[in-house]
């Protein structure tokens, strides 16, 4: 029996050479050189806590209980301060590679449901959609209006549904934790079983290639940064997603999206956000380190479904709100600024007398980023990518 198995493995090994598991995933030229990463912050990030409007006279009174617990923020521009748990990002701010847009939101209002809010954020449509027909995601529609995109131009990363990239344009998808960690012998036997079924054979080839994707140049700091993070799993999994994104974007991928959950801080917000904020900072630094020189051409947008209440609730948390903040990072970003018209925190200035009043559609910032990075026509952005959006004036966030 044993000798039969050895003979079999030998024969399979020969055919494996003819049909290598490690086919290189084909990389074709992409239509642009700039890179865009969209991070979906699921759970509704409290923009007022992350980018604190300490210059607003009402802020301290509203948020004193929370500030006592976290300690004071880190000064940004004299009016706003950064959440102290994001201190690792301060060097980026000082280098002009980190900025924020404040008092922004999608057109979603009033119902404050995470699922509906995220659906609308990813669909990029207005609410209510004229006939409810926006079924695909806005990043997919960006591909639809761009000539010369390929299957690997855009990557949906992780196990999320990521509707933001769903649609008729082809996108690649992979979750680094889907690694095919089966024994070498299982692999050979699987290849034997898949041999006559091209769909299974070719897909397994790709899965193996992706699972074994390693940093391409271990001699560089960039490659080592990717390698160190690729295998991260468990609660630290998002860093693995970022490392995988960086490796793909370093190659021929131009757009990547993944999500960072954990923002729904109804109770003890200081503790609820320790891990989440740490992961967000980490993810951005992993992207920077993993992209190496490509970081200079990169814009990272981190967006959430809606903001949270201006006042704390009874359990040192915040409830679902409306206006919030968006994060921009990367070498292609003109950072070091907090963009937006500040509506104020007086009760009369609030939305519904409870939430930060949105003064700009968050989609306008995303649209201007795509205009700046990829040169997409304004008409395509306003009609197709974000149907019905008025982009307004250019905030000048892209270098």
């Amino acid at each position: 029996m044993a000798s039969t198995r050895r003979a079999f493995l030998k024969s399979v090994a020969c055919s494996a050479a003819a049909h290598p598991w490690m086919t290189s995933v084909s990389l074709a030229a992409a239509p642009w050189d700039a890179r865009l990463v969209v991070i979906v912050l699921r759970g509704a990030m409290d923009g007022l806590d992350i980018v604190r409007p300490v210059g607003d006279p009402a802020y301290a009174g509203l948020r004193a209980g929370l500030i006592d617990r976290t300690g004071p923020g880190l000064p940004l521009d004299g009016y706003f301060e950064l959440h102290p748990y994001l201190s690792d990002l301060m060097p980026l701010w000082r280098a002009g590679q980190l900025g924020f847009a404040h008092a922004v939101s999608t057109p979603y209002r009033d119902k404050r449901s995470h699922f509906d809010g995220q659906d609308l954020l990813e669909a990029g449509s207005a609410e209510p959609a004229p006939d409810g027909r926006v079924r695909d995601g806005w990043l997919n529609r960006l591909l639809q209006v761009s000539a010369g995109t390929e299957g690997e131009t855009a990557y949906a990363i992780g196990r999320d549904q990521l509707r933001i990239l769903r649609g008729s344009a082809e996108v690649a998808q992979w979750s680094p934790d889907a690694a095919l960690d089966v024994s070498a012998q299982s692999r050979l036997l699987l290849e034997h079983v898949y041999h006559d079924d091209p769909l299974f054979r070719d897909t397994a080839d790709q899965a193996i290639a992706l699972a074994e994707l390693a940093a391409t140049d271990m001699d560089s700091a960039r490659g080592r940064a990717v390698a160190a993070r690729l295998g991260e799993t468990g609660a630290r999994r998002v860093q693995g997603l970022a490392a995988f994104a960086a490796e793909r974007l370093y190659g021929d991928t131009r757009i990547a999206s993944f999500s960072v959950p954990g923002w729904d801080s109804h109770r003890n917000q200081d503790r609820a956000l320790v891990g989440t904020l740490g992961r967000l900072a980490d993810v951005i630094l992993v992207l920077r380190d993993g992209l190496g020189p490509v970081w200079d051409k990169t814009c990272v947008l981190a967006m959430t479904e809606f903001g949270r209440t201006v006042a704390l609730n009874g359990s040192f948390g915040t409830d679902h709100g409306t206006g919030g903040a968006m994060l921009l990072a990367g070498g292609a970003v003109r950072g070091g600024r907090v963009l937006g018209d500040w509506p104020g925190l007086d009760e009369a200035a609030l939305y519904d007398r409870r939430d930060l009043m949105p003064t700009r559609d968050v989609r306008a910032h995303a649209a201007w980023a795509m205009r700046g990075l990829f040169g997409i026509e304004r008409s395509a952005l306003e009609r197709t990518v974000f149907p019905g959006l008025d982009m307004g004036a250019d905030p000048g966030a892209i270098l």
Binding site: S113, R135, V182, S186, V193, L199, A207
Partner: protein, 454 residues
């Protein structure tokens, strides 16, 4: 083609795999779609009135909480948790029924029609009505008339809310005039395009608009459940596909029902449903003769789903090789567990078994049940499921999970025959015999195209 091959293909295409309950003949359709299966008792789903009671209690408690009543606030939280539990109970029962049912054909048909009428549950209170949707609105009608299913679905809060009917108001209705609001066409359009006639049928934007006007007034509230609100209805009559419904003045629910009855037996609907059944259960491109056969039965029987299902099992194409479709993740995991002899008792005995063995792997394979990515439902194209991530997750499941749910794995050489019979190909049989361990052998069977396809 041997009789054994036919029976095996029928069991895989119309059930959850080989076994004593495999559906293989028209008389089985009759028995499995209409005879009691014991599942209502074994794995009950929450009834609609239970969900409504909790929603109403929640509304009352919230009112109290707004006035600063601390006990009411606590009670509101309890009702929210209770509503979540009802949704959880339904999602659990859906898995356990598929595992345990002696009538797999019925369960497959329920899932087919529930996907035809795809909805998207969130984390909201309406999720508590999921059990009623799947086993009430859909399940009670899988052996009955399509028109009845269409009418109950049109009244269900999950459909009314998913396709935005709840925000549609007749522009010339009293409420529309007063508030200056109007129609949302979403449900009307999907009703024609996806639920009945099909996108290639001869209808126009005007029909969509008229259908939306007809539907205005369909509403749901926790206090009343489903109701028709004439103050929202567009004054009639409306003309859909050349037929006029209603008269001047406020609309009536009977007019909506009359239009749905007509849509259910329109020739375009018959062809659309026939093609969809053929593609889902047999394969694409649909066999033209099978489509004509099913559409004919649909028209002659007035959309009787029992007759149509029997006609599907009866047709030679239904059991003709090759097995080319790919089981969606839910069907894949259920058929693997049933093949391993794992029933609900065993699954529930495993710590976090539902989530670890079924739900999380399913989402890695690309399917989150009842969270449709589009109103069109699940993709039928094999390539939509066999992606690098989807296949890798299936392979990992196949290699690792059987050993987690069973104390003793079967001999893979017996297992391959038991779950695949004559469908197992020589390469698979050979690889299984060359496996190093039982886990590897069983994993090869469950990861094979022969098992994943149908």
């Amino acid at each position: 083609m041997t009789p054994e091959l036919k029976t095996s293909i029928a069991a895989i295409r119309f059930g959850y795999g080989l076994g004593p309950d495999a559906p293989s003949a028209p008389e089985i359709a009759l028995a499995q779609l209409t005879a009691p299966d014991g599942m209502d008792d074994a794995h009950p789903v929450p009834r609609m009135d239970l969900a409504l009671d909790q929603m109403n209690a929640l509304i009352r408690a919230r009112k109290g909480a707004k006035k600063g009543d601390a006990a009411a606030e606590e009670s509101a939280k309890e009702h929210e948790r209770a509503l979540k539990r009802l949704g959880r109970q339904a999602r659990t029962a859906i898995i356990l029924r598929a595992l345990d049912t002696p009538h797999p054909l019925r369960e497959r048909m329920i899932h087919f029609w529930a996907d035809h009428f795809a909805i998207r549950i969130g984390n909201g209170n309406l999720t508590s009505t999921l059990g009623d949707y799947v086993y009430g609105a859909i399940g009670r009608n899988v052996g009955g008339r399509f028109a009845d299913m269409l009418k109950v679905v049109a009244r269900h809060p999950l459909m009314l809310s998913y396709l935005d009917q709840v925000s549609s108001v007749g522009p010339n209705s009293p409420v529309g005039q007063k508030r200056g609001v109007g129609l949302n066409e979403n449900y009307a359009r999907e009703l024609l395009e996806l639920h009945t006639l099909g996108v290639d049928a001869a209808y126009t934007q005007r029909d969509v608009r008229q259908m939306a006007e007809l539907l205005a007034g369909m509403r749901f509230s926790p206090a009343k459940g489903f109701f028709y609100d004439p103050r929202l209805s567009e004054p009639g009559p409306e003309t859909v596909l050349g037929r006029s419904y209603g008269a001047a003045g406020p609309g009536k629910l009977a007019e909506v029902d009359a239009a749905l009855e007509d849509l259910a037996i329109a020739p375009d609907t018959a062809r659309h449903m026939a093609r969809k059944l053929a593609v889902h259960f047999v394969g694409a491109p649909a066999d033209p003769d099978l489509v004509a056969h099913l559409a004919g039965i649909w028209m002659r029987s007035g959309g009787d789903l029992l007759a149509v299902t029997a006609g599907l099992l009866d047709h030679p194409a239904a059991v003709a090789p090759p097995v080319g479709k790919v089981k969606p993740p839910f069907d894949y995991i259920i058929s693997a567990l049933r093949g391993l002899g794992v029933g609900s008792d065993r699954l529930l005995a495993i710590k976090n078994g539902l989530s670890r063995v079924v739900e999380r792997p399913m989402s890695g394979m690309g399917q989150v049940p009842f969270r449709a990515v589009s109103p069109a439902g699940l993709p039928e194209d094999p390539a939509a499921w066999i992606t690098p991530q989807g296949l890798a997750t299936r392979i990992r499941w196949a290699m690792a999970q059987p050993g987690q749910v069973l104390d003793a794995l079967p001999d893979p050489r017996d297992f391959v025959g038991r779950v695949l019979g004559p469908i197992a190909d020589d390469r698979l049989v050979w690889a299984v015999s060359a496996a190093e361990t039982r886990a590897q052998g069983v994993g090869l069977v469950l990861a094979s195209p022969a098992f994943i396809r149908r």
